[in-house]
Each structure stands twice: as structure tokens, then as C-alpha cells.
Symmetry: C2
Subunit: 141 residues, 2 copies
DNA sequence: AACGCAAATGCAAATCAGTTGCATTTGCGT
DNA sequence: ACGCAAATGCAACTGATTTGCATTTGCGTT
């Protein structure tokens, strides 16, 4: 599990190295899909060693997001925000409406589109959020 | 504004006809972009005649959404949900990050993409949510 | 046209995610 | 090892949305 020297990573981003931040970072690194602050909190708190306060989780996620380490998304239908590591590569997800599983999608269908949109509207396009909902192969039966 | 006989529309959807529901329906019909429950509440409340309780607005919006008359979206970065008439035609919006203005976009860039995605993943694709963020012409200066 | 009752509304209190103030603790440069 | 700014824990707060309950209203019936 993600045991590279985080001190170095954090320093690079101007982030002070604390146990809590290491725990959140490692947990996010291991997660392959976007997760909520509460999920992180509950999971870490169950393992005595990494226990921490929920507001600390929020503060750390905000910090990581501001520093560009983490991506925050408000797309979930239940209104909760989710967070995932910023792998730099822009990424979208496919969500199963039956089992709520989330899988990342390779590639982004919007690159050219944004260029054209920018020209036709004269907006400066910054980013976009996309989620696709469906039923996964397992749940289709 | 939008004074068709709503009784008929509501009946079709199995919705009991009340003054409050008419007011919300009409307001939504006149709105060209997604709006929050609070915006509806404030606007209607300012005109004595249509004044109503905020929780009623929420209840009506939930009802309309369940009946398919209205589309709800959690996309806003500030965490508020927005609602818009379901014109049946699938639509996306362009949001200005400076002034928060929202304009609808013509057409959807994802139609073909979804077909291909469905084939490659074996998911049954149901729908998608997309928002594009940028800076509008006015705010670019 | 009035009646009755289920459904809708108003109001206030509750909930839930997320934020904040402040006292205490910790990391890190010296 | 020392000192201080920054980070954390905790509890209280905020803002959006929901809910329980008493009152009101719409609508099918008489």
C-alpha cells in the first residue's frame, strides 16, 4: 500500500507532513474510485491508528484539492461531494444505478467539442464534469 | 404567462391541482435555466398572491421530479440543487465561474459516444450528466 | 351547493453535510 | 532540545433540505 516517502511528495506541494495527511493520502491512493469525506473518515477511524476527526478530513481534502493533488466532484445524486486522486489525466466515471459501483472510463469524448464550443459561444472553457449512468453487466441480469 | 389549463396537465400526471403547484409550474415554465428551490421560493413569495412556504416548494419540486415533469440536478459547485422543466429534449449547460450565470447548450456531444461506450463496456447506458465550466464573454474582460 | 376525507400546506423543529472558532497539540526550522 | 506557526480535536454553527403534526384545501360524492 502506497508507502512511498510522502514527506517528499508533500514538500513538493508545500504541504506540511502530518500523520493525518499521510493517512488520507494513502487511503485516497488505494481507492480506485471517488469517495466521500465520510467514507474516508469512517474507514480510517475504524483502524485505531489512523483515527482522526471528521473536520480534519474535510480540511485535508480541501487542502489537497487546492494544491491540485485531489479532485473534488459534486456530481453524486445524493448531493455528497466525492474526492479522488488527481492522476492528472482527466477522467470520467460510469456509475451503475443498481449497485452504485463506479468504474473509470478511459479517454474523454469532449476535447474537440470544447474547442468548438469555445469558438461558438466566446466563453473561455475551463473544465467540465461528466458522469454517465447505466446498469453494469452484473446487474443487467 | 403560461396560462394554459394546468388542471388538465396535472391530471394527466396524477397531480392534484393546487394554487401552489400552479405557481411553481408557471414559474419553472418561464425560467429558461435551472434554478434553485430558494430562488423559486423568494420570487414567488415576493408577489403576495403566490406566497408559499419553502418546504412546500421543496415538496412540489420533489413531486414534479418524481412524475418526470421536472429535472433535478446536483451539479452546482455550491452544493445547491437546481430544477428545470423537463422539455424531454436532453440538454446541458454552460456555467460561468465568475458570475454563475447559466446558459443552455444546443445539442449533446455524447450521443455516439454512449453507443460506443455501451458496446465496449457492456453497460446499459441510461443517461448522463454534464456541465461545462468557463468564463462568459462579459466576465472575460 | 354543501359534506367528508384524503391529500396538501404551513410552521417549527430536526437532520445532514460541511464549516468554523478556539484551546491544545504537533511538525519543522533554528 | 526550543519555540512558534500551523494543524488538529472538539463542539458549536451554518445552510440546504426534510419531517412531524396541526390546519387547510381540493375534489369526488351526496
Amino acid at each position: 500500500m502506497g508507502s512511498i516517502d510522502l514527506k517528499v511528495v508533500f514538500k513538493k506541494y508545500g504541504i506540511k507532513n502530518t500523520l493525518q495527511r499521510q493517512a488520507v493520502y494513502n487511503y485516497l491512493t488505494d481507492a480506485s474510485v471517488p469517495i466521500t469525506a465520510e467514507q474516508i473518515y469512517l474507514e480510517l477511524t475504524r483502524s485505531e491508528t489512523d483515527a482522526m476527526n471528521l473536520s480534519t478530513v474535510y480540511r485535508i481534502l480541501d487542502l489537497f484539492t487546492k494544491k491540485g493533488l485531489v479532485l473534488k466532484s459534486n456530481l453524486q445524486a445524493d448531493g455528497k461531494s466525492t474526492y479522488e486522486m488527481n492522476h492528472m489525466e482527466h477522467r470520467h466515471h460510469l456509475i451503475c444505478v443498481k449497485c452504485n459501483s463506479i468504474v473509470p472510463i478511459k479517454g474523454c469524448p469532449l476535447e474537440d467539442y470544447e474547442k468548438r464550443l469555445s469558438e461558438s459561444t466566446n466563453y473561455k472553457i475551463l473544465e467540465h464534469h461528466l458522469e454517465i449512468l447505466g446498469v453494469c453487466p452484473k446487474c443487467r441480469q
